[in-house]
């Protein structure tokens, strides 16, 4: 039952998004703009600064993810549908899960564009170990989105939400960023360090499990007025 509710919420958000493509197109364009700014800063005389690609990829993911998080609940606020959503006879954690699925899907779509662009603009061999990179990106995205979705939901009623979201989110998700950047740069070496990358994947996955459990547990008291 909770899982079905989560999928229904995902379907609702997906149908609204497909009609306008508002969040997806703006997030994608923002992510690409980020990469362009970085490439002006870090590509000198035709060749990129050493080891910059991993950091740039993850910064672009975090920035565009923050932007998307701010917009996901904005729609509920504008339409004044948040209360209706919370009043629905559905378990609260299912609502959180539905929003989280949507967020992860959105961030994945952005990454599908970001990763090839980073590989292209910074001459990074990102596709030398595609499976490991995919798992690392998936685990990192879930970790970032799980904490982000909770904070974005809590901040819906706050006046200063635009500035508060990054202030709260970045310090808390630093373990994900460290693991993501370190794991990706292990894969980008001339001879990819698979053991190192696997260890970072294990650390992010543990973070994911702890964060999602905590979020499911806290969503109910946090969203009760």
């Amino acid at each position: 039952m909770p899982f079905r509710v989560a999928l229904l919420i995902l379907k609702k958000d997906f149908l609204i998004e497909v009609k306008s493509l508002e969040i997806l197109s703006t997030t994608l364009f923002f992510a690409v703009s980020c990469l362009l700014v970085f490439s002006f800063a870090f590509v000198k005389e035709g060749s990129p600064v050493q080891d910059a690609a991993a950091g740039i990829l993850w910064i672009a993911i975090a920035f565009s993810g923050t932007l998307a998080l701010g917009r996901v609940f904005e729609r509920e606020r504008y339409g004044e549908t948040l209360r209706a959503l919370l009043l629905a006879p559905a378990p609260r954690p299912a609502i959180y899960l539905g929003k989280l699925f949507g967020m992860v899907l959105l961030m994945f779509t952005t990454e599908v564009v970001l990763v090839p662009m980073v590989a292209l603009l910074f001459q990074a061999p990102l596709f030398s170990r595609p499976l490991l990179l995919f798992v690392l990106l998936a685990a990192g995205t879930v970790g970032f989105a799980s904490v982000g979705t909770l904070f974005a939901a809590m901040l819906v009623r706050a006046r200063t939400r635009d500035i508060m979201l990054p202030i709260l989110l970045y310090p808390v998700t630093i373990p994900v960023m460290i693991a993501g950047v370190q794991g990706t740069s292990a894969l980008l070496q001339a001879s990819p360090d698979e053991a190192m990358a696997t260890m970072w994947i294990a650390i992010v996955s543990t973070f994911d499990v702890v964060a999602i459990t905590l979020c499911l547990w806290m969503f109910e008291p946090l969203m009760t007025e």
Binding site: A158, L168, P171, V172, I174, I178, Q182, T206, L214
Partner: protein, 218 residues
């Protein structure tokens, strides 16, 4: 606690007044000499910060799940004190590091963790002040995440090079240093208890005043 406030205050004041003599009296460390003396401030400051963080995290959870408003005041007071003592640690650390390591800052596991916890709890105070109505719950979530983030940051940064003296130096201190060290720790902990008491009382009275004000309105 109110009954004990004055005696505890007296003891703490005496201990802080005596601390310079106790610290000056402690023997010099064989390689770092005078620079090592900052240790008597630096380590107790972190002791207080970590105690405050755990109090803030646990009491935030109590507030969030049990709705105990007094727990929220305790968590808020502890978060504020954590930030103050964290700043003390972050100032005294580089002063020592400049002499002992030759650099002001290193991206070492303990330093990074301390900086992030400071950032998380500054975030706590910011959201508390500017978050608008309902910010108590938001900040409670922040404190819980802050507390649970400790192991993750520690493990992930520990894989980089660690040059900070290990926590295991504490039991191996020489006899003269051992006494001075625990003297400082007790003095700092007493100061922490006093500050907590005053801060929680202030919040309680503020809440009582708010209640009276609301009751007065037609």
């Amino acid at each position: 606690m109110t009954r004990f406030f004055l005696p505890v205050f007296g003891v703490t004041a005496l201990m802080f007044a005596g601390a310079p003599f106790v610290i000056a009296d402690a023997p010099y460390e064989s390689t770092m000499l005078l620079v090592q003396k900052i240790f008597y401030f630096h380590v107790p400051a972190w002791f207080v910060m970590f105690t405050a963080i755990f109090i803030s995290g646990i009491w935030s959870a109590r507030y969030l799940f049990k709705g105990d408003r007094n727990a929220d005041r305790v968590a808020f007071a502890a978060a504020e004190i954590a930030v103050v003592f964290g700043l003390m640690g972050l100032v005294t650390g580089p002063l020592w590091g400049r002499k002992a390591w030759g650099v002001w800052w290193q991206w070492d596991a303990r330093l990074t963790m301390a900086l992030l916890l400071e950032a998380i709890f500054i975030g706590y105070l910011l959201v508390r002040k500017y978050g608008g109505p309902g910010s108590e719950k938001l900040s409670a979530a922040m404190a819980i995440f802050g507390m649970l983030n400790v192991p993750f940051v520690y493990i992930s940064v520990n894989i980089w090079r660690t040059i900070h003296p290990k926590t295991s130096v504490v039991p191996t201190l020489g006899p003269g240093m051992f006494g001075a060290f625990w003297f400082s720790v007790i003095a700092f902990m007493l100061l922490f208890a006093l500050l907590m008491h005053l801060r929680v009382r202030l919040e309680q009275q503020r809440a009582a005043l708010d209640d009276l004000y609301l009751a007065e309105e037609p």
